[in-house]
């Protein structure tokens, strides 16, 4: 993927670009708001990552200008503020996602992956599969190696969310937003508890582990 990073803090830039390049993405970087905007309007990118506080032109204005120019590229907004209003203000300006500093690289990477594939509609799919795990969305039956697995409604929703995003890391906050529609940071490890319950049913009785923990990031189901 080709990514644009508009960020003025050298350490963050170094960390983010190095990580993204290791994942095989091409990264263009600009440290100045005005130059960043002109690059955003002229270049072709899959996802843009824009910091909120920038010299010369702030991130909010960049996002607004980019959207006003009818550029639909997904944008992740980076901010050091992370208050109640900031989040909504950021999303209202036209950004697609929002990440509060300090963030783990895994979180950013997972969100970039989620945004880049967002338009893909999977609603026609009736059966979701991963290895020998099958989920029938009509009968709401889950089987693994032909063996039926009995899931509670929320466990079903959690598994469905992971299966629909097979191969991509889903962070705890992404799961909270996607499965529970909740937008905050719990202090306790509630998501882990749900995942471990799900694992007990989906993975434990079988040899191969399907739900993987990605250190410092989240969870992923492999195909």
């Amino acid at each position: 993927m080709k990514l644009l990073l508009i960020e003025d803090d050298a350490t963050t830039v170094d960390y983010v670009t190095r990580g993204l390049r290791e994942e095989g993405h091409g990264v263009d970087h600009l440290a100045n708001g005005r130059e960043g905007l002109s690059q955003a309007l002229t270049g072709e990118y899959d996802v843009m990552i824009v910091d909120r506080m920038l010299p010369e032109l702030d991130g909010l204005s960049i996002v607004r200008a980019v959207r006003a120019a009818k550029v639909a590229t997904p944008i992740i907004f980076l901010t050091a503020i992370g208050g109640v209003d900031d989040r909504i203000e950021g999303l209202n300006s036209g950004a697609d996602d929002y990440l509060v500093k300090p963030f783990a690289f895994g979180e950013l990477s997972a969100r970039i992956a989620a945004l880049a594939r967002r338009p893909q509609a999977q609603s026609e799919q009736v059966v979701l599969e991963a290895a020998d795990l099958k989920m029938d969305l009509i009968t709401r039956k889950v089987t693994r190696a032909g063996q039926e697995i009995d899931l509670l409604p929320r466990e079903f929703a959690l598994l469905e969310f992971l299966l629909r995003r097979k191969g991509r890391v889903q962070t705890r906050t992404m799961l909270l937003e996607g499965v529970w529609d909740l937008n905050f940071d719990p202090q306790t490890n509630v998501v882990e508890t749900h995942i471990s319950r799900l694992r007990n049913k989906v993975d434990k009785p079988f040899e191969r582990e399907l739900i993987h923990t990605v250190r410092g990031a989240g969870y992923r189901i492999d195909g």
Partner: protein, 456 residues
């Protein structure tokens, strides 16, 4: 705004009250002046009538004997209308002549109608009685001129007062309407400012009144005040944003450097474990910082304009379901009690309300004893929706219930459990933003936290 211009509001308006008050004063002055004039005029008229009566008796005094006098009286009586002038002579033998009859009552001569003559004056008489020629002569003048005087004065009072009362009441109502509209504009602006919309201003037509009157001046001052307030808040936001930025960026760097350091260290080494612990501590610091900023933002009047109806029942169902497993893992239980099918809607911010409930549940899981037994309950009562979270743990001593709502305050025995002492402070900030009442109580044993919302 027009809804406010009802009748009661018009009567409550200052101009109309002033107009009516002024009319009251004018009426009182008028009453006093006219009253004095009336009393003076009346007494001089009465004096004139009495003098007249005395002069009339002179004619009768010339008669030496009762017969002559009765002839004179009879002649006078025939020439006079008894409703204007009454005259009667009681002869020594008790016979009477005259155009009225007189009766002796309590030592006084009282005038009564003589059937051969016209009726008496309806206003009564001034009478003069004098012993003459062995009998009694009674002459009376009608009080009609006095009654006329009274009605003339009443007419003057009414004709001078009623029109001016109507005119000033109409003016007062008109001025009241006008002022009311402008006062409403001021009130609306104040309401908006109170609710945190600091960009609200009094409209120009109220501020720029041609006469620059008191309301216009108040409006202008209000606008100036709002401008200062907005600038101050903006400056404060800028400062806190700057601090946030200045602190969070180094925090980001610390996290990055620590995770890089961790990757470079061999697995299962003591140094790696230290780096991991350092990462966790840095995350905790960020968490405290984040929560403090969030509380400050909520308390600083996070605009309510983004409020929408929130179904507390559905939200509580989602969140208790999320935490149910965590409570079970801790060896306890979490249950939700809610009325079936009842509307449990409040006006608010779903994200903040969710954070609030999750803080309360996390608190109960952490501090609700070794096997936390937690009940989340929703009750709908009249126009209130009451949310309560109860545990069966050690509870909070009464003396400390207000203290635990403070930022960073922690009970002595909780110092070893995880948590940053900001959970309840955030709950309080969110409750305050939603006009809900927060109360901590005793669950015998355990803590019960109640949040009482106005229902939608």
């Amino acid at each position: 705004m027009l809804g406010r211009l009802n009748r009661a509001a018009i009567f409550a308006s200052t101009p109309l009250r002033q107009a009516l008050g002024l009319m009251g004063i004018v009426f009182a002055i008028l009453l006093v002046t006219l009253g004095f004039a009336y009393v003076a005029l009346r007494s001089s008229t009465e004096d004139a009538i009495r003098t007249d009566l005395k002069q009339q008796t002179a004619v009768f005094r010339v008669a030496a004997n009762p017969e002559t006098l009765s002839v004179i009286v009879s002649a006078e009586a025939r020439a006079s209308d008894p409703s204007e002038r009454a005259i009667a002579f009681v002869l020594p033998d008790g016979r009477q002549v005259g155009n009225v009859r007189v009766l002796r009552e309590n030592g006084q001569w009282v005038v009564a109608r003589h059937l051969d003559y016209a009726p008496l004056s309806s206003q009564g008489y001034f009478t003069l009685t004098m012993p003459l020629a062995g009998g009694f002569l009674v002459i009376g003048e009608s009080r009609a001129p006095i009654a006329e005087l009274t009605s003339t004065f009443l007419a003057i009072l009414i004709f001078s007062f009623v029109p001016s009362l109507l005119v000033s009441a109409a003016y007062g109502a008109w001025a009241g309407m006008r002022a009311r509209k402008r006062v409403s504009a001021l009130e609306d602006t104040l309401d908006e400012l109170t609710e945190g919309r600091l960009e609200a201003r009094v409209p120009d037509d109220t501020v720029k009144s041609a006469r620059g009157d008191d309301l216009a001046r108040i409006g202008a001052r209000l606008n100036a005040m709002a401008e200062t307030q907005e600038a101050t808040v903006a400056a404060l936001r800028q400062v806190s944003a700057d601090i946030a930025h200045d602190l969070k960026t180094p925090m980001q760097r610390i996290s990055v450097l620590l995770s890089e350091l961790r990757e470079q260290l061999p697995e299962d080494s003591a140094a790696r474990a230290t780096a991991e612990r350092a990462s966790e501590e840095a995350e905790l610091a960020v968490g405290v910082f984040h929560s403090l900023l969030r509380i400050a933002q909520i308390e600083g009047g996070s605009p309510k304009s983004r409020f929408a109806p929130v179904d507390l029942g559905a939200l509580a169902t989602d969140i208790t379901e999320l935490y149910e497993v965590a409570a079970e893992e801790a060896g306890g239980a979490l249950r939700l009690l809610r009325p079936e099918g009842a509307a449990l809607r409040v006006q608010g911010d779903r994200g903040l309300l969710g954070q609030m409930l999750s803080n309360l549940i996390e608190n109960a899981i952490r501090h609700g004893g070794p096997e936390p037994d937690i009940t989340v309950e929703l009750v709908c009562e009249d126009d209130r929706v009451r949310l309560s979270v109860r545990d069966r743990g050690p509870g909070v001593p009464e003396a400390e219930r207000q203290l635990v709502l403070r930022r960073l305050y922690r009970l002595e025995r909780s110092r070893t459990t995880p948590g940053n002492g900001l959970g309840l402070a955030l709950v309080q900030a969110v409750a305050g933003l939603h006009d809900a009442e927060l109360a901590l109580g005793d669950n015998h044993p355990g803590l019960v936290v109640t949040v009482d919302f106005p229902a939608l």
